[in-house]
């Protein structure tokens, strides 16, 4: 009986260590994923452009899916809400706040144009369009 208890003690402590590490890892990665990526969007491919290495933390990432639905950090928005949000970002961070449009390759330009118009209306004339780099 004594011998059985001794055998059990060692694996449980190391298991707990590893499980805690796993939990911490999942928490950290899930929160990062949330505000970065809308998995349903398949970006158009670029072959000549360099991949970005660092991104501005102020960057507003606007996702536009193939049906023209707009979301920011997976929060769906209509055009009026988008405009208000962009205005708020401009007031907060100034004219240089970077805007990234992550649009699906098959999105009609019509929808992208609507987002661009809202940005221009608010006074943000410099936007970036995301593309996927192979390799």
């Amino acid at each position: 009986m004594k011998r059985n208890e001794e055998e059990l003690q060692t694996p449980i402590t190391s298991m707990i260590d590893i499980v805690f590490q796993l939990i911490i890892y999942f928490i950290v990665t899930s929160s990062v994923d949330k505000d970065m990526v809308d998995e349903t969007i398949k970006l158009a491919e670029a072959t000549h452009s360099p991949a970005v290495e660092t991104t501005d933390p102020r960057m507003v990432v606007i996702n536009v899916n193939a049906q023209g639905k707009v979301n920011i950090a997976l929060q769906p928005l209509n055009m009026k809400q988008l405009e208000q949000l962009l205005l708020a970002m401009k007031v907060q961070s100034g004219n240089s706040v970077p805007i990234l449009i992550r649009c699906d390759g098959n999105t009609r330009f019509d929808y992208v144009d609507q987002v661009m118009q809202r940005a221009a209306k608010v006074g943000l004339y410099r936007v970036r369009i995301a593309a996927m780099v192979e390799g």
Binding site: E6, A44, A46, V52, V127, I129, V133
Partner: protein, 129 residues
Amino acid sequence: MKKKNEEAMSVPMSSMIDVVFLLLIYFIITQKDEISEAHLAVNLPAPGSSKPSDTKPQLLEIEVHENMYSLRGVALSLENLENTLAKFNDPDLTVIIKVSIQAKAKDLVSVLDLCQGAGLTKMNVVTLR
């Protein structure tokens, strides 16, 4: 003595292996999601700004329709466009990309990508209605 040690070792190893496999699988899955992105900078026309169409020789107009491109009014394929753009290797050249609302986002992205590849930096996007 030897027998007891071996038994004590065998229990943690199997659970460790389980966890290590889980970790391995998790890392393999997350690795795949790491797609590198390029961010193509464009300028938007300011509403009410003067039209830039006054006599400016260093202006390049590209029209983008669905699967159709034209440079200064001449229809071109994407390959021809690439070859032609390579001749304008001037970073100060202003490129005006007129995009039809019928076009797909990937059409615009491929033109922006070619411009970037040709060393052009001033891309402006205008919508054709």
